[in-house]
């Protein structure tokens, strides 16, 4: 499919995907990822960009045993809803972890990793994953 081979699509999002660039709403106080023009909770345009902390904890997790095609070779892997230290929440893969190690509340830290490749001869898509924090 076209979208899985698009370089501009990846390029355009690179800063937010590489740097945990989030937003904070000056009206309702919500901190969110990624940054955007309007607060997802209250709709306010009074938002600022903020670099989110690289540490947090796992709220909920699941093990993906039947992955979308592009992630098939990584099965099984853990997907987690993570709350960062300032309250922002992010969905990300866990890495450097065995399936039996993960638990709700586990402290984690952000790492820069490869998410997928646009085929063997295509570009590599990098982003933030999380690993257990000692």
């Amino acid at each position: 499919m076209a979208y899985t081979k698009s370089v501009p699509r990846i390029w355009r999002e690179r800063i937010r995907k590489y740097r945990l660039l989030g937003g904070v709403c000056n009206d309702c106080g919500k901190v969110f990822y990624p940054s955007r023009r309007f607060c997802p909770r209250c709709g306010s345009g009074n938002v600022n960009k903020v670099t989110l902390p690289r540490t947090g904890k796992i709220l909920y997790f699941t093990v993906i045993r039947n992955a979308p095609t592009e992630f098939k070779s990584f099965e099984p892997y853990i997907l987690a809803l993570i709350e960062l230290d300032n309250g922002a929440r992010i969905l990300a893969q866990l890495t450097d972890i065995d399936l039996e190690e993960v638990y709700e509340g586990m402290p984690v830290e952000a790492v820069f990793r490869k998410y997928k490749e646009q085929g063997r001869d295509g570009v590599i898509e990098y982003g933030i994953k999380f690993r257990p924090r000692e």
Binding site: P40, T62, N66, A67, L91, E125
Partner: protein, 390 residues
């Protein structure tokens, strides 16, 4: 606003239709609905087609003109409506608006999905498009996985045993046995569910609606058309309300995961518009793409207190003869879930009940029915409330 009536329904069985293409399925259900209404195909002035993934899974878009061509009524107003798994409900909503506005006398809402031509991992890729491609699909999330997170949140919040939630699948299968349109017409036991393989922990295979092909169609019209063109005035159903609401598309941006806010918003509006309360509903179709969604939906629709949706399942309240008969034709789990068509199948099933045509699954004196169709992880919810008026 004009009153809107349902005068015809048609559907294919949900299954792996190796011999039928996307267009074959559409034409088949359309003709069945037209015949069921006893009208001419030329009477239809507009068609709204609910479909999620024809582009990705079939390489086919532009379903409006495609169906108009293959149905032999090119010239008619027709287009696709997409809201992920809520596409069917959204298409019905558009059809409702078209008649209610007074613009068209008679329209068709049709849902279709042709999934089984693709390998499972490609279907998984297609379904996750229901969420944010850049910040959710990018992480390798599957649609099952997102619902698994909801499942975990619910279990943690209310301290419920998984068996009590998984029971929803057993419920659905029991009623699919008597539904000739259902994909899985066999009963299953809770042990079968709990022993089936994990897809995304804690969700087991038998807690997930299956992949299948199908198409269903509904003919809607106004009162004028009903009086003039419809010969059979028995079993006429009125659409009391049709409401679509959205929510923040991705879980991580929401403040809560154990309730689908769009269900609450859409249903409270729909009850108001229909001038009824939850207790007035005789039969309901909830969008149980996963067992947990069935449980949460019972709560969000006002049929159970928060955190007790699973109890009313366990206590038999959602059985035929119970307080709120639910998914009496098999639901998404057993009737089947050809995603973009599901919202239309739900209307088909409710109409079948309200007309008294549900056979062994008939709910006595069913007069008012409600269908809840969900797109994504609750990013879109459509509530349609129907009533038998003749």
């Amino acid at each position: 606003m004009e009153k809107v009536f349902i005068v015809g329904i048609g559907a294919t069985k949900v299954r792996e239709h190796w011999n039928l293409s996307l267009r074959d399925l559409m034409v088949k259900s359309a003709i069945k609905a037209i015949n069921n209404a006893g009208i001419n195909k030329q009477d239809i002035k507009a068609i709204y087609i609910g479909n999620m993934s024809s582009g990705y899974l079939q390489g086919q878009e532009h379903l409006g003109a495609l169906l108009a061509t293959w149905l032999g009524i090119a010239g008619v107003s027709a287009c696709k409506v997409e809201a992920a798994c809520g596409s069917g409900g959204a298409a019905f909503h558009q059809a409702f608006l078209a008649v209610a506005s007074g613009l068209y006398d008679c329209v068709m809402a049709l849902g279709v999905e042709k999934m089984t031509d693709a390998i499972t991992s490609d279907v998984t890729s297609a379904l996750i498009m229901a969420d944010d491609q850049e910040y959710v699909a990018f992480t390798g999330a599957s649609f099952v996985a997102l619902n698994a997170l909801i499942y975990r949140a619910y279990i943690k919040e209310y301290g419920v045993k998984q068996e009590d939630i998984a029971l929803f699948a057993v419920h659905d299968h029991k009623y699919a046995v008597n539904n000739p349109y259902a994909q899985y017409r066999r009963e299953i036991k809770i042990e079968d569910v709990m022993n089936s393989p994990l897809i995304a922990d804690p969700i087991h295979l038998l807690e997930c609606a299956p992949i299948g092909d199908g198409s269903a169609a509904i003919i809607l019209c106004n009162e004028r058309f009903l009086e003039k063109k419809v010969s059979d005035q028995e079993g006429v159903i009125e659409v009391l309300s049709s409401v679509l609401a959205t929510d923040i598309i991705s879980l991580h941006d929401r403040d809560t995961y154990i309730t689908l806010n769009a269900t609450r918003v859409a249903s409270s509006k729909a009850y108001k518009m229909a001038r009824i309360e939850p207790k007035d509903v005789n039969v309901v179709e909830v969008h149980d793409a996963f067992t947990i969604l069935g449980v949460i939906s019972l709560e969000d629709l006002g049929f159970a207190e928060r955190g007790s949706g699973w109890e009313i399942v366990r206590e038999g309240e959602i059985e035929i003869g119970g307080k709120i008969p639910t998914n009496t034709m098999g639901g998404l789990k057993a009737r089947g879930h050809p995603v973009g068509a599901t919202g239309i199948y739900q209307i088909f099933d409710i109409v079948t009940q309200l007309r008294g045509e549900a056979g062994k699954n008939q709910v006595d004196n069913a007069e008012i029915g409600l269908a809840q169709n969900v797109g994504g992880v609750g990013g879109t919810v459509i509530i349609n409330i129907l009533k038998r008026v003749r």
